[in-house]
């Protein structure tokens, strides 16, 4: 579906900006609610994520001793901005991306990495012990899942023969679902997404029973709210990317809602099914299994293309 809006509206209101944030909050709610139901809890009310955000925004922001003040305030804004920037290049809500050019896949992915990076830097910026350990873990995890996740999104890109997200989306919509054509890539992408979002069992960077809130321990009020919003936006973008690439593309809003929610359901199930991995186990898993699987998938795709098979 195509939509022509003035660029400024596209950027600030729809599909970027406000809508993206609202969508992120709704998906956060859906995620929390699903996990809660799987764990036999009641879960939050629909309005809860918004209420949390508004409350945090209104609250006093405490500046801890020993931080670089400029960085401390700038990092949350950079994080949210990076996440929103990534939103410009992907087919959000089933519409054409607000902006599209050749190679935007790489930009979108790196904008998402910037979000994680800022969280790591934010943790390292403080002198809190929990934050420092959390930051180390966040960055360690970044280096472990990033490569396999990128490789897993590269599969569809190679199959489609383009680095442009909108074109891959169209390609995916016209061909056999890539989830079936490239099952390994799909699995790696799903797990990579969980790593990226620091969802259980990959939540070692914010393991509350060890390091309280990890890199975010010292953040409160507005800064914390912005980081959280950034995370929510990352969730919706991640879901959109994976479903656009692997679940047969997103041609209209209805498809978007169904496919991303189906993916979220799987994600929530996976979150409830495991114990938290230690950071060394996470890294080991990614480099031993994740990267290897993704490479195998890539080789298969390249071979398949050259041999002219269904890939």
């Amino acid at each position: 579906m195509n939509l022509s809006l003035p660029p400024i509206l596209a950027l600030l209101v729809f599909p970027g900006g406000l809508f993206l944030i609202a969508g992120g909050l709704i998906y956060q709610w859906a995620d929390r609610k699903l996990v809660a139901r799987f764990q036999n809890r009641i879960g939050p009310r629909f309005i809860q994520p918004l209420a949390d955000t508004l409350k945090l925004l209104a609250k006093e922001e405490i500046t801890p001793v020993g931080v670089h003040k400029g960085l401390f305030f700038a990092l949350p804004a950079i994080a949210l901005a990076a996440a929103l920037t990534a939103g410009l290049y992907i087919p959000l809500f089933g519409f054409q991306p607000a902006s599209s050019f050749r190679g935007d896949l790489i930009i979108a992915l790196y904008a998402l990495s910037v979000l994680t990076l800022t969280m790591g830097v934010a943790g390292a910026n403080t002198i809190s012990r929990f934050s420092l350990v959390g930051a180390t873990r966040t960055l360690t995890q970044l280096f472990s899942y990033e490569a396999p996740f990128l490789l897993s999104l590269l599969g569809p890109a190679i199959a489609a023969g383009t680095w442009q997200i909108s074109e891959i989306n169209t390609y995916a919509g016209q061909n056999l679902w890539l989830m079936i054509a490239q099952p390994i890539g799909f699995v790696v992408a799903m797990i990579g997404l969980m790593g990226k979002l620091e969802l259980p069992p990959f939540d070692a960077p914010e393991a509350e029973t060890e390091i309280v809130a990890g890199a975010m321990t010292e953040y409160s009020g507005r800064g914390f709210a912005l980081f959280r919003l950034g995370k929510d936006v990352e969730l919706i973008i991640g879901l959109t990317l994976v479903s656009a690439f692997y679940l047969g593309g997103l041609a209209n809003p209805l498809e978007f809602v169904f496919k991303t929610l189906a993916l979220l359901l799987v994600l929530a199930l996976l979150q409830t099914a495991f114990a938290r991995l230690r950071i060394d186990q996470t890294v080991g898993l990614w480099w031993r299994a994740g990267a290897l699987l993704a490479v195998v998938q890539l080789i298969a795709i390249v071979l398949g293309r050259n041999l002219g098979s269904i890939f």
Partner: protein, 392 residues
């Protein structure tokens, strides 16, 4: 960033999400590897031993029950058994059977609580939620018997307050069937879930010799193959008529502690069923004098966490001369400090909860208020040096 050294110290407690009760642990880490550990207890001292000397024998029963919110019944049982021995009173068998029944129900509730807490420390919140949901069943049973979920106050000096009617027995049977089924499920999860095994197997392994050397007791010791259980070694109540099997495991790691505790839950379920089916008939109480004859007595029972020892001295008056409580958690601390070295920081919460620490167990002697100076800690190096130099 420790103030005194260049060691990187991660403090856990006195306020920390991993701890539901106050204590202070300091772990010195090198990256993620723990290189040292220390503990400081006593944040919630309540002066119970001192307080006992100012109360009558009957009042103390209720005071002792409040030492612990999890194993309240077993404390009261240890106390009443001691006092009854001093007074030379023979308690009716039916009362003993009901005490034992309550004690085993309490063990189920304590072990299921521990299972949830330990899973939560390992980031396995689903197991936490499930086990605590199912734990409600046993707590409801306790409530049906006594009217309370936590402090049942089933004991009296010389008997018990509550009878088990046939309707109650039927309800308990029903509850136990459900609990047994659920625990089979947990056993399956604990022994088959890959991530869970990855977090527990070969973590904090303690050999039998080490367990004995460090004085470990209870399920922690039994998971290391130390077959020590007061219920078997020195049967009290009617454990001689309804004997339990000692559950041991040879692995000695965290995983073994999970298996031992779940197996003990099954054993408790079995014992409760047996008691319900062969409940002795008779009175519930007998008379105990207000003044207890002078003397000293040692009373030992097996609490969910291990051996609980009461030393009670009487001077022949209405109040005890001295009540000394040696709780099980105290014995197991040294195992944690010793096992921590070389493990990952991420293993610490699970290791800590692996012994099923009960802070009210430790902190019962006396307290005024918190101090304002920095904590004085018992450093691991001192302890280790100690062990090296002296244990030859």
């Amino acid at each position: 960033m420790a103030a005194d050294t260049n060691k990187f110290v991660i403090p856990i407690g006195p306020q920390h999400p991993a701890l539901k009760e106050p204590a202070n642990f300091e772990f010195w880490v090198d990256g993620e590897i723990v290189t040292g550990a220390s503990v400081r207890l006593g944040y919630v001292h309540r002066g119970i031993e001192k307080g006992a000397e100012a109360r009558t024998w009957t009042q103390n029963l209720y005071l002792m029950e409040r030492i612990c919110g999890i194993c309240s019944h077993v404390h009261a049982t240890a106390y009443t058994l001691g006092v009854e021995k001093l007074a030379g009173v023979k308690v009716p068998q039916r009362a003993n059977a009901i005490r034992q029944l309550m004690a085993e129900l309490e063990r189920i509730h304590s072990h299921m609580l521990w299972l949830g807490v330990a899973a939560h420390e390992g980031g396995f919140d689903t197991l936490f939620m499930y086990s605590w949901r199912d734990r409600e069943t046993v707590m409801d049973l306790l409530e049906k018997i006594s009217g309370n979920k936590v402090h049942y106050s089933a004991n009296l000096l010389g008997g018990v307050k509550f009878d088990i009617t046939s309707e109650l027995a039927a309800e308990i049977h029903k509850g136990l069937d459900f609990l047994e089924e659920r625990n089979h499920f947990y056993m399956k999860v604990v022994t088959t879930d890959e991530t869970f095994i990855g977090r527990t197997q070969d973590i904090g392994t303690m050999t039998t010799e080490k367990a004995e050397f460090l004085g470990a007791i209870g399920p922690t010791a039994r998971a290391s193959g130390v077959a020590r259980d007061i219920r078997v070694d020195a049967p009290y109540l009617i454990y001689d008529q309804f004997p339990v099997k000692v559950m041991t495991h040879t692995s000695g790691d965290l995983h073994g502690r999970f298996i031992v505790r779940i197996n003990e839950t099954f054993e408790s379920i079995r014992i409760i069923r047996e008691i319900l089916d062969h409940m002795p008939q008779g009175e519930l109480t007998t008379r105990v004098p207000r003044r207890i004859p002078a003397g000293e007595v040692v009373s030992r029972v097996e609490a969910p966490r291990g051996e609980l020892l009461y030393f009670i001295a009487s001077n022949g008056s209405e109040k005890p001369e001295r009540v000394k409580v040696r709780t099980p958690s105290l014995c197991n601390w040294s195992t944690v400090l010793s096992l921590a070295i070389g493990l990952k920081l991420a293993d610490m919460p699970m290791l800590l909860s692996g012994i099923d620490p009960c802070f009210s167990c430790n902190d019962r002697s006396i307290s005024l208020k918190r101090g304002q100076q920095g904590p004085q800690v018992w450093s691991w190096e001192k302890l280790r040096q100690y062990g090296i130099e002296y244990y030859r």
